[in-house]
Structure formats: C-alpha cells, structure tokens
Symmetry: C2
Subunit: 300 residues, 2 copies
C-alpha cells in the first residue's frame, strides 16, 4: 500500500510537470488560459452563456468580462436569445472558429510531441497505459450524492434513462403511464434519489422507494453508456442498499425488462435472487430480491 502511494505520487509529479510544461509551451501565452477554455467550450456551434457558466462553474461577472474581451478580439459575438431575452447566445466568428482550429491543432501537436521520442513499441505501451489510467481515474472520480427527483440533474438522467428504454424495448416504451406521478416516493425519508456525477456532470442515477413494511424497491437505475463497466453501477447499488439499511429495510426488490441483459447479469452478480412476479409492471420480465445483512457497509 505504501508502494502504491509512492507510485501514485511519482505519477502525479511526473504527469503534472510534463503536461504542465507542454500545455504552457503549446497552448500558453497567446491567450490567457481561460480564453482558450472558453473558445474550446463554445465550439463551432455556439452555446447559451447560461449553460457555459453552469458547465465551467464560473462567476457570472468574470465570465461576462472574459466574453467581452473575446468580443474585443473579434473572436466571438453574443446575441440576445430569441426565446429568453435574459440570456445570451455566444457564437464564434469566422476568426474565432479559425482560432479554435489553431488551438486544436496545437493540442494535437502537444499530444504527438509526447510520443515522438519513443519507439513504436513504447508508444503502443504508453497509449494503452494512458487509456487505462483515464478509464480508472474517471471511474474513481465519480461521486454519488443524494438529490431530489425533481432536480434538473435528476430529470436529465431520467430523460436519458427513458430514452434508452424506448430505444431498447421492442414495442417501445410509454413513459407517461404512471411515471410522473410516482416521483414523490423517491423523496426522503421514505425513499431516496441518488445521482452519480463525474467532474460535476451527471452520469448516472438510481432510486429507492418503500414498497411495504421493511421492504424497499430499487428503480430508475441508469448509467451513461461511456461509464459502464467501470464499477460505478456497483457503487451506486451499494449506496442504495446503504440507504435501505439506514431505513431499517430488511430486503430489497426490483424488476427489469428482458432486453436489459447487462442489468439482469449485474443484479445476479450483486447477490440478487430471481423471484416470482411481485407487481404488474407491464414492462417487467424478471423480478429480483435480496436480503440485506446488518453489517453491510457501502463505500459511498
């Protein structure tokens, strides 16, 4: 374990220095960093200033002033939004798009300069190790937190979830039927609604509700496709089970559709036993059950 810590610290040092130096060398000192970031985030299609602020978590005054600076350099325009006159839409000018492409090319050059001194074999190994680190750091960076099912983030996750059901179920999926009404049951203290976030943006969700005395039910478990297979589902499920334990539940049930094969497999591996139908959900083909033991401890 101490060795692990030393390896991580050496990695931290090397990577920070190496990438820091290169980022500065290739991207720095032509614009302030924040301006490059903005050009990059605004992109060729433009964004609402409001979304930009939310995404980057910037102070509104600071963002406003930085946008003015970019306007002064003729790299972007902001125009009043047609629908909501309070917000503005930021769009790169032709010059702005050119500048963005230039930054992008520099960024590629930076990446190439990292592997340029290496042999092909070393390059291959570096790339695959980088992909592994990226994957696992993203996995470890996911934070799970409680939220209200009506929050914008929860709604966004649920939209993604229902869209996916609609595309995967053969006969489609009608989200209207009873889906909006049961939101209340995911609110504490009877239930809970968890979102998983990576770098502040939601990448998954899961809900718990009380089904009967001492019995809970897990619903709405969803993970962004790019986050699957990283152990985030396991942590989300553990957090829901932890919430169930806190509510003195002794067992958890859940149902799922036959087309969601990874989910079925996932629940089986997580200690859920298939049981007989316990509800009349028209979209369910499998029903599961797990008895909670008291000493269970979630890692979230």
């Amino acid at each position: 374990m101490t060795d692990d810590v030393m390896t991580i610290r050496a990695f931290n040092r090397t990577v920070t220095r190496r990438l820091g130096v290169l980022n500065e060398k290739y991207l720095g000192r032509e614009h302030p960093l924040i301006e490059s970031r903005l050009l990059f985030e605004i992109g060729a299609d433009g964004v609402l200033v409001r979304d930009l602020r939310a995404r980057l978590g910037l102070d509104s005054g600071f963002l406003s002033r930085t946008l003015r600076a970019l306007e002064g350099k003729r790299l972007l325009n902001t125009i009043k939004h047609r629908v909501d006159g309070r917000t503005r839409f930021a769009k790169l000018t032709r010059q702005g798009v050119a500048e963005l492409r230039r930054i992008d090319a520099l960024s590629n050059k930076l990446a190439e300069s990292l592997v340029a001194p290496l042999t092909d074999e070393q390059t291959r190994r570096l790339i695959s190790a980088m992909a592994e680190v990226d994957r696992l750091l993203r996995a470890s960076g996911v934070e799970i937190a409680q939220t209200l099912p009506g929050s914008p983030e929860a709604r966004w996750c649920l939209d993604q979830y229902f869209d996916e059901l609609a595309s995967r179920f053969e006969g489609g999926f009608d989200r209207g039927a009873g889906m909006a009404s049961d939101v209340e049951c995911f609110v504490p203290p009877d239930g809970t609604f968890l979102v998983a976030r990576l770098f502040g943006t939601p990448v998954g969700c899961g809900a718990l509700r009380t089904l009967g005395s001492g019995v809970g039910e897990i619903k709405r478990m969803w993970l962004a496709p790019e986050m699957r297979g990283l152990g985030v589902g396991r942590r989300l499920l553990a957090a829901l089970e932890h919430a169930a334990c806190e509510r003195k539940m002794r067992a958890i049930r859940l149902d799922t559709h036959k087309s969601l094969t990874e989910a079925i497999q996932f629940y089986r591996l997580s200690g859920y036993r298939e049981i007989a139908r316990y509800n009349n959900n028209p979209y369910a083909h499998h029903w599961f059950d797990k008895t909670l033991t008291m000493h269970r401890r979630a890692r979230d």
Copy 2:
C-alpha cells in the same frame, strides 16, 4: 495515429482535472502553492538558497521574498553560509518540519483518495498503468543537448560516471590518468559533448572525439541508473552518431570494460561489431566499430 492523439488528449484532460481538483482540495489554500513547493524542496535537511533557485528555476527576487514570507511564519530560518558568505542556507524550523510532515501526509491522503473508490483489482491495474505512464513520460521527457565538457552539468555527469566505474571495476579506477587532459577533444568542431536532461536536471551524457581522418570515437557514455532501460541510451547514441555524420566521419569506434555487460550488449544491439584492440586503454577489454551509412537520421 489519430486515435493515439485522441487517447492522449483524453488522458490529458482527465488527469489534469482529476489531479488538479485533488491537489487543490488537499494541498491548496493553506499556503500558496509556491510555499508548499519550497517547504518540500528544502526538506528536513535544508539547502543552499542558490541551489534551491537553480533547481526550481525561480527568479531570485521572488524566491527571496517567498523565503521572507516563510520566515515570517516561523517555518524556516536562513543563515549566512560559513564558506561562501554571499549565499545563505535555508533550514526548516521545528515548526517547518512539522508542517512539511503535514503536507506529506496530505499528499499521501490525496494518493489514497484516488484509489479508495476502486476495487482491489481496479487499484492493482491503475497502479501498474500509472507506473507505466510515469516511466514512459519520463523517457519521452528527456532532452538531449550539446554542452561544453567543462560545464557544471557535464562535470557532474562525469563525476557520476567515474564514480560508477570505480565501484564496478574490480581493481578500482584511477580517473587521474589522462582523464582531465583529454577534455579539449570533446569540444566542437572536432568533437562534441552531449547531456541528456529530464526536467532540467542532467541524467546522462556522451562524448564524441576525432580519432583519425574520418574516424570518430565515442567516450564517456553514462546514464543515471533510474533512467536505464527506457530507450534513452539509444537516443543518446543516435545523437552522437548524428554528430559524427555531420563531421563527415565514416566510422565510429569505442572501447569498454568487461564488467560493463549491459553496455557491451547495448553496443552489439546497436550495430557495433567487436574488433581487435585499437588502443592501449588499460581499462578496456572490448573494442567495437561501426560503419556509418550516409542516410542515417537521428531522432534528436
């Protein structure tokens, strides 16, 4: 190749964000970053302010002011150096050492927090991928440059080199015999002296001199132990051969001691053929030769 660039850029983004956030969370906002860095670099034993400045490449005024700030916090003292009254020696106070230990503990915590959410198997894979990335980024970060054999960096490398010879040769090694006098032959245009640097500090060297008409000789090839097996030797040798080509040399010779088995192996793999004794170096047991082809191109 485009895929590689995308992988590197994704890695850059994820790692910068993840480590940046954590560095700030654990290390930030108690001292300015530069003060933590200084505490860390000064260490429990103290350093000469001159060396500190050289190592971190800081502006002397800036360093001076930052040291004053740390003195004000009673974390260090600077005292006039006994031998050279111009420079000062910076030493942590008892409180400074305690603070350093605290920062160190936070740094360990940071490292642990990176793997805490992962399974044991994921942790194992992340650690080994990090070690690989660290290794290869250090390899790719090495820069090879020409210098004079009398420069402080060159002298430092040569000291390391001769120390290693002294410890590896059974009968020891006498560096006095003709070693100081031949420094002139490594100066352009007849010869050259190259140092390999990683993050500004020397990690290897190699020299070329003219042996006769159209024939060069490679001498003083040394690599810091921690940089071996990373392909840096190959690059250094290629750079020396490139320098030889520039000098219109048609062949290169070199000799080596029987105890330097990696070197012997390395030269063989690099296209050198063992030949008969061509000099009367008392420490040589193997003599090598390589004919240079005109189209050879070094990557450095």
